[in-house]
């Protein structure tokens, strides 16, 4: 199911949303470089109106972890 988080990742990483899973990471997604990693943070913060702590950002190495970070902030998708 393509939720708002997957859509956000798809827009920033310029990939088909259907290709993204919770296991998507810089290791298996070629367009997820350091520049895009920064853009992902900004996009998530603006789309979900949250502020991500530096520690969260540094450990957000997969889409699944991003989902978990948002859940801990009370945003369930």
């Amino acid at each position: 199911m393509i939720d708002k988080l997957i859509q956000t990742f798809a827009t920033v990483l310029k990939v088909d949303p259907a290709s993204l899973t919770d296991e998507s990471s810089p290791e298996n997604t070629p367009s997820w470089d350091s520049l895009r990693a920064v853009q992902l943070v900004t996009a998530i913060e603006e789309t979900f109106s949250v502020e991500l702590a530096t520690t969260d950002i540094l450990r957000m190495r997969s889409l699944g972890i991003a989902r978990d970070v948002l859940r801990r902030k009370g945003i369930s998708l």
Binding site: T42, E46, T54
Partner: protein, 602 residues
């Protein structure tokens, strides 16, 4: 799916939020690379990460109907990018505009380290670091034909002295203020560099919302997304001013713009004007209009009224700040404003694409937008207290240089009206010309002239034989080329100084001189100046041993005035050129005095 350029422009104008701007840019920018209408290549070079600026700069340029390709120089390598002949700024595809961004924290680190213990040495170190930076910029400019935009620094956010920081020499605020002044003066002396006022942008936006401490630590991104958007817009504003001719005329509606109320109903003394509210809002606008006039913007009136009523206010209302003599042209009648604007364009001999209209009526603004879309229309909506800000926010009169011609423009138009008065008073053209006392000064182009001749060259359309458009950098290149001979022409008469009104660029072609560029301002036509210029060029070619002088006429939609120029002076058409032998001189008109004192200096 390929989008039409017009659609991308429309989307750009609707994408207001940072998120929308980034999303649309991400989709549009790859398609822009294929844009057939020409790309503006911009390179961003900074002491910090510049990538966040790209979508906002790109989208704002799209709003101005420019397709941009934006490149980022390697992170924090501004000196090597400027100095190395193989840097990305000098490699293909070469950028047209280079934007260099810096902060005090990176560039003036030595000065900041010394500041608390030795504020004087800190300032010496800052001057050294800034001069080194300026030298690198100059070396880069000498080696490339690009436009360079450099920022001034923002005040650093972290100031350990706290309350004392704004007072003591050891304070960061004081050092920042001194750096701003030093940098402004250094750049004012370097016309090839355009200043991006980051300091002002940060002040307008607010330092706290502009900063992004978390992203700085993570990725060396100093700014929040909304502030990056502002900076991108400011950079686009400068690029637009680089590539679009400045507007020159403010056309003003009268009722509820220059005064409160309607003069046809309230009478010349009954309109709202005074030092108290609400009348003082209109005086504020009048003062602003006068200030614009002082920097070279002409003032005109377009109003749906009986003409006499409007002039009554100017003549009889003691509160008026604007006077008749400040108005360069007026069309006060009951016709459509778009028609009147075109008439004012004829009267002033300026294109209506250089006009800005201010009007409180949405209907009038819509009429002009529809029928004269080349005019920039500013609808003065809401409280008149905000009118001046609306005009400023339009950035309509942005210019990158201010020349003597600019500051004297309004006065020169007034002089011309006085000449007209003489002409209607005399009987023959000969009498008129003799009475003018014309002095034509033809001189070698000097370095100080480059800015003015570039402006003149790019805005003169009618008496222009070949209509080449050149940037300041290109003109400077010709000036340095020994095969090229560049001349300026200025005219005075007994009514005043017409200023710089002509240019002629000739190039050596073995036994001939080719007049590559020749143009004259319409102000000085019909007085024999055209003949005087050719006579001098002919003689100049002859003394250099050239047998012939030749020129071309390239017709455009606007320059039919120049079509008979060469033929009427004895030039014969041959293989696409008009050619004349230099051995038979052209006779000078008798009513013109030549000033050639600066003809052979360089």
């Amino acid at each position: 799916m390929l989008k039409a350029f017009e659609e991308m422009v429309r989307e750009a104008r609707e994408a207001v939020t940072p998120l929308a701007a980034r999303t649309i840019w991400s989709a549009s920018s790859p398609q822009l690379e294929q844009h057939s209408g020409g790309l503006v290549r911009v390179a961003l070079c900074g002491t910090f990460t510049t990538q966040p600026l790209e979508p906002y700069l790109g989208m704002e340029l799209l709003c101005h109907e420019m397709a941009a390709s934006i490149h980022h120089a390697p992170y924090n390598q501004i000196h090597s990018e400027l100095l190395s002949p193989t840097s990305t700024l000098r490699s293909d595809p070469v950028p047209e505009v280079v934007v260099v961004l810096w902060r005090m924290e990176e560039l003036l680190s030595e000065a900041l380290a010394l500041l608390t213990t030795d504020p004087e040495s800190a300032r010496e170190a800052a001057k050294r670091e800034l001069n080194e930076f300026l030298q690198a910029l100059k070396i880069f400019l000498d080696a490339s034909d690009v436009s360079v935009i450099v920022c001034n620094p923002m005040r650093p956010d972290v100031r350990p002295l706290g309350l004392l920081d704004a007072v003591l020499d050891q304070g960061i605020a004081a050092l920042h203020a001194d750096v701003l002044t030093h940098w402004r003066r250094a750049l004012a002396a370097e016309p090839r560099i355009h200043l991006l006022d980051l300091d002002g942008a940060q002040r307008d936006f607010g330092a706290r919302p502009a900063a992004n401490p978390k992203m700085w630590l993570l990725a060396k991104i100093p700014w929040s997304e909304p502030f990056s958007q502002q900076v991108g817009k400011q950079i686009a504003r400068i690029i637009k001013a680089l590539k679009t001719p400045a507007r020159k005329v403010l056309v003003m509606d009268c009722d509820n713009v220059l005064w409160g109320g309607v003069v046809g109903e309230d009478g010349a003394l009954g309109v709202e004007l005074g030092e108290d509210a609400p009348g003082n809002a209109y005086l504020q606008l009048q003062r602003y209009a006068l200030a614009l006039r002082e920097r070279g913007i002409l003032l005109a009136l377009v109003s749906k009224n009986d003409e006499a009523d409007v002039w009554q206010v100017f003549d009889k209302n003691p509160r008026m700040i604007l006077k008749r003599e400040h108005i360069a042209a007026a069309q006060i009648n009951w016709m459509a404003k778009s028609v009147n604007l075109r008439q004012i364009a004829k009267d002033l001999n300026l294109g209506s694409e250089s006009f800005v209209l201010i009007d409180d009526s949405a209907a009038e603004c819509a009429e002009v937008c529809a029928n004269a879309p080349e005019v920039l229309t500013i609808h003065l909506v809401g409280d008149p207290a905000h009118s001046v800000r609306l005009i400023e926010e339009s950035c309509a009169f942005d210019q990158l240089t201010l020349t003597r011609e600019d500051t004297q423009r309004a006065e020169m138009y007034a002089q011309e009206r006085r000449r007209e008065a003489l002409r209607t008073g005399v009987k023959t053209m000969e009498e008129y010309l003799a009475g003018l006392g014309l002095v034509v000064r033809i001189a070698r182009l000097s370095e100080e002239d480059v800015s003015r001749v570039t402006q003149l060259g790019n805005k003169t359309n009618q008496f222009n034989t070949t209509t080449p458009r050149r940037s300041e950098a290109e003109v400077r290149g010709l000036w340095q080329d020994p095969a090229w001979h560049l001349f300026t022409l200025s005219v005075t008469d007994r009514f005043g100084d017409y200023g710089l009104t002509g240019i002629a660029y000739c190039v050596d072609r073995q036994e001939a001189w080719e007049i590559d560029t020749l143009l004259l301002s319409c102000r000085v036509l019909g007085r024999g100046v055209e003949t005087a210029l050719l006579a001098v060029l002919l003689e100049q070619a002859r003394v250099r041993g050239k047998e012939r002088i030749c020129g071309r006429y390239i017709p455009t939609a606007k320059n039919t005035l120049a079509a008979p120029y060469f033929p009427s002076h004895g030039f014969v058409e041959r293989e696409g050129f008009f050619v004349r032998s230099t051995s038979a001189p052209l006779s000078m008109p008798s009513h013109i005095t030549l000033d050639l004192d600066h003809l052979n200096k360089s």
